[in-house]
């Protein structure tokens, strides 16, 4: 999977490395600001109220 991505990135080694870094940062941002806030309510350890 990672090998496939690496082979399909354009540019030389330096360009590929830079693009990889950008991709990693983009995925992290997506996770932190979109996926995690969405997934959080489904997890139990944030329940602090009493409800019937």
């Amino acid at each position: 999977m990672y090998g496939w991505i690496w082979r399909h990135l354009p540019g030389g080694t330096a360009g590929k490395a830079l693009l990889s870094l950008l991709l990693v940062l983009a995925v992290c941002a997506l996770l932190l600001f979109v996926v995690f806030p969405w997934a959080e309510p489904f997890l139990p350890f944030n329940d602090v109220t009493v409800d019937g």
Binding site: M1, L31, F45, N46, D47, V48, V50, G52
Partner: protein
């Protein structure tokens, strides 16, 4: 890289069934390496260069890709879970810290603009700043802006006021929920409170000093004259803790002003709830009389 080479050799061994055992004498797995493989491959078939042999076998190559991809996905999943832990333990605190700052500024601006006559109960919108909570036991400067409502979104901003519960100082039960972990963890150390500890609620024009129930002399939460425990651990379904008279039947008419804080217990779990009950001590103190807060704020 070392791993890949090992796979190469093992694969070679399985799909290239040609080499006879006599030619391949090195059976110790530890010494299997590319050089060995080359040697015995060449010996077995001089006409088939090793590179061509490696390109040829589709089955082995495909399996290797499948296994490698599964491995990569598993490692990726592990990293995502770790990132989620970082998000919960650190990023949510940062987000909440910023939000609390904003709310604090907002609520004080709002209060300073209000004329005394307009301080009658105004309609409360979920998520709006509701009051400021001070718990000196959790730090001299401990203060959190309480928001209206206990929805998931509201509790991200700060402790939340159960919408149907009493107003500050009102006879009945003022109930507030807050996070034990994540989002600033306002109630992380709520289990440190002791009987008699002040919990101060600040509104636009008044201070309300509540005191944790129990016997301050012995530190026993269970021996308050009212019969209500100062601190208890209950199941998530025990809604009677936020009744107008805590732990009494829902219809019991209240005669005192109580304060109830709820959070999860134990930390990092939601199996139970940690509950703290307090009762209004004396009468509300007008902010005009004590702009810097009641003496209870600096107690202990």
């Amino acid at each position: 890289m070392r791993e890949t080479e090992t796979w190469d050799v093992v694969d070679t061994d399985t799909w290239d069934e040609a080499p006879d055992e006599a030619a391949y004498t090195d059976t110790d797995p530890d010494t299997w390496d590319a050089t060995d493989a080359d040697t015995w491959d060449d010996a077995a078939d001089e006409t088939a260069p090793i590179a061509q042999v490696r390109d040829d076998p589709p089955a082995g190559e495909r399996w290797r890709t499948v296994v490698r991809t599964i491995g990569e996905l598993l490692v990726t999943a592990g990293i995502i879970v770790l990132l989620f832990v970082v998000y919960e333990l650190f990023v949510t605190d940062l987000l909440n810290g910023r939000r609390q700052n904003d709310l604090n500024q907002q609520v004080h601006e709002q209060w300073s603009q209000e004329t005394p006559s307009s301080s009658s109960p105004r309609p409360q919108v979920p998520g709006d700043a509701f009051a400021v909570l001070h718990i000196p036991r959790l730090g001299e400067d401990y203060q959190r802006v309480v928001v209206e409502g206990t929805s998931h979104a509201a509790l991200k901003d700060g402790p939340g006021h159960y919408s149907d519960s009493a107003q500050p100082g009102e006879v009945g039960n003022l109930a507030i929920a807050g996070h034990r972990t994540t989002y600033g963890s306002p109630f992380r150390d709520l289990d440190l409170v002791r009987p008699g500890d002040p919990i101060v609620v600040e509104t636009a024009d008044s201070w309300f000093v509540y005191r944790v129930l129990g016997d301050p002399a012995t530190g026993d939460f269970d021996t308050d004259p009212s019969g209500i425990k100062g601190l208890e651990i209950v199941t998530p379904e025990d809604v009677q803790v936020i009744n107008p008279v805590p732990d009494a039947a829902a219809g019991t008419p209240p005669t005192h002003a109580y304060l109830t804080l709820t959070t999860c217990h134990p930390r990092f779990s939601a199996a139970q709830r940690l509950i703290v009950h307090a009762e209004l001590d004396g009468t509300p103190i007008a902010k005009a009389d004590m702009p810097d807060g009641p003496p209870a704020l600096t107690e202990g």
